[in-house]
């Protein structure tokens, strides 16, 4: 019996990495195009995960479980996918700012972005303005995401945007900021393009920022 792609999405939503791995493998054997498995199986599943997270029907542990299942499916798909067919190829560079060692929120945003097909370059924690600039120049991402959990470190977001201004690069990229002490007002004050109150909002903003750009 043919594998229904929505079964893959269901298995992903249930957080079952073994089942996702198996179903993706079966679908490939049956000749379903990898791109179709990705879009209608894995990404469709993660879209629903994002919706449930936003509606407080799922929480971080459940999302982590689903993301793990998605990665299990991707591991099966990647070797057979032709270059350029792995979904949306827009790049997003993301990191927790200098002096800050919190990453739960950042990692959650990464999962949502990857789940939606974006290529995410995770710079980890304690990322200096210079490092953001260096990676921007090498990778040319559409969006840079910055996270901070502390009132003392959130100022580094301002410093990063200021460095891009100084180097004449500010207009080439969208800055998205988030984290517990960060507010829309603060984001506006430091010249960021957007503020995501949670991972779902961050994803929506990245989609908005990249809409119409060539993928």
């Amino acid at each position: 019996m043919a594998v229904e792609l929505q079964e893959i999405a269901k298995a992903l939503i249930a957080g079952s990495q073994d089942q996702v791995r198996q179903l993706v493998g079966e679908a490939l054997k049956e000749g379903v195009a990898p791109q179709e498995i990705l879009q209608k199986g894995l990404i469709a599943g993660m879209d629903e995960v994002g919706r449930r997270f936003k509606a407080n029907e799922m929480f971080v542990p459940e999302v982590l479980l689903c993301a793990r299942a998605m990665h299990a499916g991707m591991d099966v798909l990647k070797p057979v996918m032709v270059e350029g067919a792995q979904g949306n190829k827009e790049k997003v560079v993301i990191g927790t700012v200098k002096g800050d060692l919190h990453d739960i929120g950042k990692n959650l945003v990464i999962m949502m972005l990857e789940g939606a097909g974006f290529k995410v370059i995770d710079l980890g924690m304690n990322v200096s303005p210079e490092k953001f600039l260096e990676v921007f120049e090498a990778e040319k991402p559409a969006v840079i995401g910055m996270s901070a959990m502390l009132t003392t470190t959130m100022q580094a977001m301002r410093d990063t945007i200021a460095l891009f201004e100084k180097q004449g690069q500010r207009h080439k990229v969208k800055f998205l900021v988030g984290g517990a002490p960060v507010t829309a007002e603060f984001a506006n004050k430091i010249g960021a393009d957007g503020y995501g109150a949670d991972a779902g909002e961050a994803l929506e903003l990245v989609k908005e920022f990249t809409l119409g750009r060539s993928a």
Binding site: F59, V60, P61, L64, E185, F186
Partner: protein, 350 residues
């Protein structure tokens, strides 16, 4: 150190905990970092000389007419004592850079703690003891103890522990049993050293992180038992700072032997209507948007609004919604203190 009012700070806070109307609205600010900077110091200096820190708290107590002093901030005190590597920064609170329990098997590495000997704990106890000696019996010393779930998350790494909940719930409970013992031992030592109120916070267990079902299973019973033990050991009150959203589990917090809840994202009036029969509410002038980034006028307006919502009927402590940020303009804190002083007396007169 007697207050200028009819009641001492200690009596004032115990009055709101005991459902009595105090002489005036108690005023607390979580002010460790702000106080250190206000005194012209760096964090690292306060980790070398306890008197520098004690004096920074005494200065705030006097200048802003606060009703309590706080221990120095060290959330990973228990983690370090159990074996994790802790970093003390020049001017930020200490942190644990890497999870100590990379694999579940690493649980065997955890050492039982002796708060009087291990890691930074003896220093923390010394600070609390000196604070108590300095303020005497009339002013509460408030000291922080980690809840077992938070320490478990910090030792294992939150993302790892969240997945362990599904992969190996028995491991999570075994770890919680261990962190419960360590956190409770440290809490008791804080009480022995002179802490009157034990405060805590649990930002990895709020609605932004875990479900109510998981909170009920993995956080609530351990915190309830720990706070019950600390109160039996002599803690006069338990203060729970709720970072983030807690709307669907405030009832559980109220049932954890907690006396005071320090809230950020709630409407004080609504919260009191629902919960003030069970708990005292503390807050919630916005510490970042208003105290750190706002004008003195905005601070005055919001402080008055909080008093108008919270003070009627007692069971309320005026405060910011979280710690006062280190870089807050002292004029904003003065503006808040001035409004509190103007309107704090019962019977209220707004």
């Amino acid at each position: 150190m007697a207050s200028n009012g009819k009641m001492t700070s200690m009596k004032r806070i115990m009055a709101v905990c005991n459902k009595e109307i105090p002489d005036r609205v108690p005023f607390l600010l979580t002010s460790r970092e702000f106080g250190i900077k206000y005194a012209g110091l760096k964090y690292a200096q306060c980790y070398e000389d306890p008197n520098l820190y004690v004096n920074s708290q005494l200065r705030l107590l006097e200048e802003f007419e606060l009703d309590g002093v706080w221990d120095i901030w060290c959330t990973p005190a228990v983690d370090e004592a159990m074996g994790a590597h802790m970093v003390v920064a020049e001017d930020d609170p200490p942190w644990i850079p890497e999870p100590y329990l990379n694999e579940r098997e690493d649980i065997s590495k955890l050492k039982p703690v002796d708060p009087r000997k291990d890691g930074r704990m003896p220093y923390m106890l010394e600070v609390v003891s000196r604070l108590k000696k300095a303020v005497g019996p009339d002013v509460p010393v408030i000291a922080w103890a980690s809840p077992p779930f938070r320490t478990a998350c910090m030792l294992r790494g939150s993302a790892n522990l969240y997945l362990d909940i599904f992969d190996d719930p028995k491991f999570v409970k075994d770890l919680l049993d261990i962190t419960y013992e360590a956190c409770t031992a440290y809490g008791k030592a804080l009480v022995d050293a002179g802490a009157d109120i034990i405060c805590t916070s649990n930002p990895v267990a709020n609605m932004d992180c875990i479900s109510r079902r998981h909170y009920e299973e993995f956080s609530h019973p351990y915190t309830k038992k720990m706070f019950g033990e600390l109160k039996a050991h002599g803690a006069k009150a338990i203060l729970y700072h709720t970072c983030g959203r807690w709307d669907d589990r405030f009832d559980l917090v109220c049932a954890e032997n907690v006396d005071i809840i320090h809230c950020d994202k709630v409407d004080i009036k609504d919260f009191k209507e629902k919960y003030s029969d069970r708990i005292v509410v503390m807050g919630n002038v916005k510490s970042v948007v208003t105290l750190l980034q706002g004008t003195e006028e905005q601070v005055r307006e919001e402080t008055l609004a909080c008093l108008q919502k919270g003070a009627p009927g007692g069971r309320y402590i005026i405060s910011a919604d979280c710690a006062v940020p280190r870089d807050t303009n002292p004029d904003n804190v003065r503006a808040m203190a001035a409004v509190v002083k103007q309107y704090r007396d019962y019977p209220l007169n707004f």
